[in-house]
Amino acid sequence: MEDTVIRAEGLTKFYRMGEVEVQALRGLSMRIERGESVAIMGPSGSGKTTLMNILGCLDRPTGGEYILDGEKVSGLNDDQLASIRNRKIGFVFQSFNLLQRTSALANVELPLSYANLQNDGRERAIAALRAVGLESRMKHRPTELSGGEQQRVAIARALVNEPAILMADEPTGNLDSKVGQGIMDLLLSLNRESNTTLLIITHDPRIAAQTQRTIHIQDGLVEENIQ
């Protein structure tokens, strides 16, 4: 197994907004090793959301090369990208993005349902909920859970397919600082104990300070600081 989870070389991304061409990424290169915890910081407009979308295989770069967990991602079609997202990436969003009408367990099972499993994977979903400490509440719907609990369900959902990397986009942005710290502790302990690579996008220096390394993005390029 390769030790580099993310290797990006000279990523560029151009958007056309009407007449104006926006250069969101201008040849960005970066690497993340297996088991690292990394924060990406940058002011709004710096291109960090675009970077997150490309690293998360939700969007394609205009140019450059991106290798995720040994698989070359640039040049894949929609279905292949969907499969990569399903197998290799676990997403945690600021606004949780849980399906309101189904139970916590069904939410965690969602990625499994797109994974072509032989069995229904219920055991794995229950194990993921146990890992975030919500096994007892798995029959509850998101509306019956607190914000912190909802984000824990989302983390369990991200973990259930045993991804190569966990990508969290402002995971504490919708939570108060105490609950937010609980979520950070959970993410960091998952990183330490299960060796899950962790990538957090944030604008909060206190969050970034808890990771091993922070990558600063400015004008579509990296200014790296190693702590």
């Binding site: 979308n53 998360g56 939700l58 969007d59 929609d78 279905d79 969907a82 499969s83 997202r85 399903n86 197998r87 997403f91 969003f93 993005n97 399906l99 009408r101 189904t102 969602l110 990625p111 349902s113 797109y114 994974a115 229904d120 959902r157 397919n161």
Partner: protein, 417 residues
């Protein structure tokens, strides 16, 4: 993605908004119910007309004077000039085992409408038939009491009558205990010897308001015609397969007797099958017409499904983005939304079939309560067609919203507020 999971998801999302789901289904329900009800009533009308035509008798042909078919009391103006009337001799000539082997029986008829009938202090008008005794068996007539007259009564110009139930009710206020009662037809006194079984209002050419008397007596006293003229001749073919043969043979004999060329006939031959097929083709056209109108409402229901599915796609944009983020392919999203619209339309289809069946039962009940024998019949074909059609509507109108959902970009869908 496994089909059970897809179905589970479909059920969850549709049951989340029950009122909306119900109203969407209602559009399809009404459409399918209307189609089923129309088709089944049409089928029922066809059945009842066919059966009433066959109740006239079996394997019957009718010969009348003039070049247009003249069936029953009505008629068209003759298009051929110098029409020779039908006579008793014509009728006799048709019973010819060599020239007309397909003819089994012949009954000459004298017929008069609006003839006064009086009894029991009541007066009314009725239709009088002067017939020979074999008329009854040819026409499948039955008596509810008494008997028909026989050959001897015909030969002796007996003043006897068999009357229909409506006439009996009008004159006597009852339909039983009437044999032996006196009846004055056109001022002449007749004795009632039998009462006909009712054939119902819809039966062709045999209204229940009639009196049947011997042909000889009718000629003498009620329906005066020149010489031995008769109004029409009923012919029974030997079997259902020989009806058209009989028609040809009758034509040949009549042409010879009336000295007319082919194409210039001064008589017309009409048979039951012609009557049945022309009646049923009229009904078919009506059924298709009404069914087509009903199908338009099914189309409107389909547009309702499309509308709601589009709303649903917009509402669930974030959900679609999330599903894509965790690994749903475009195809998975497409299938998910197609299943929802298919489920809506099929459920609507099933409820609609049931409702349509119920409506046709009610129509049948109302029809029979108002004295028309119409039994709507829901055919398996109609049910299959309506179900398939509603499924097709669901698929057709589901494709566009589902494609729209499937083609959403995950990045933009996740950012959607």
């Amino acid at each position: 993605m496994k089909i059970t999971r897809v179905l589970q998801g479909t059920f969850t999302s549709l049951s989340a908004n029950k009122l909306r789901t119900g109203l969407t289904i209602l559009g399809i329900v009404i459409g399918v119910a209307a189609v089923i009800a129309m088709l089944s009533v049409g089928q029922g009308a066809q059945n009842s007309i066919t059966s009433s035509i066959s109740s006239i008798g079996t394997n019957l042909l009718f010969v009348s004077a003039g070049s247009e078919p003249r069936f029953g009391g009505g008629g068209f103006a003759a298009a051929v000039r110098n029409v020779k009337a039908l006579t008793m001799a014509d009728a006799q000539a048709l019973i010819d085992p060599f020239q007309a082997p397909a003819v089994q029986a012949v009954a000459p008829i004298l017929q008069g409408g609006n003839i006064s009938a009086a009894a029991n202090g009541q007066t009314t008008t009725t239709t009088i038939y002067g017939v020979t005794s074999n008329y009854f068996s040819m026409r499948n007539e039955q008596v509810s009491e008494g008997a028909f007259f026989n050959d001897q009564q015909v030969n002796t110009h007996a003043r006897v009558a068999v009357i229909g139930t409506d006439l009996a009710t009008t004159l006597f206020g009852r339909t039983t205990n009437l044999t032996g009662q006196e009846l004055r037809i056109n001022g002449q006194t007749f004795t009632i010897i039998g009462v006909l079984q009712s054939k119902g209002g819809s039966s062709l050419g045999s209204s229940d308001n009639q009196a049947i008397i011997p042909l000889t007596t009718a000629r003498d006293r009620v329906i005066r015609r020149a010489g031995t003229t008769v109004d029409s001749i009923y012919i029974q073919a030997t079997s259902a397969t020989t009806v058209s043969e009989a028609s040809t043979q009758i034509s040949n004999i009549m042409r010879l007797r009336h000295h007319v060329a082919v194409g210039k006939e001064d008589f017309s031959i009409f048979n039951q099958q012609d009557l049945a097929s022309s009646a049923s083709s009229i009904i078919s056209v009506l059924t298709i017409f009404l069914g087509g109108i009903a199908a338009i409402s099914l189309l409107v229901g389909g547009i309702g499904i499309m509308n709601i599915m589009l709303v649903s796609v917009t509402e669930r944009t974030r959900e679609i983005g999330l599903r894509k983020a965790v690994g749903a392919r475009n195809r998975d999203i497409l299938i998910q939304f197609m299943m929802e619209s298919l489920f809506l339309s099929l459920l609507g289809g099933f409820i609609g079939v049931f409702l349509g069946w119920l409506i046709s039962l009610i129509i049948g009940y109302v029809a029979s309560a108002s004295g028309t024998s119409l039994t709507p019949s829901v055919s398996l074909n109609a049910v299959l067609m309506a179900t398939l059609f509603s499924a097709a509507v669901g698929l057709f109108f589901g494709i566009y919203p589902a494609r729209r959902a499937a083609s959403l970009e995950p990045v933009e869908a996740l950012r959607y507020e």
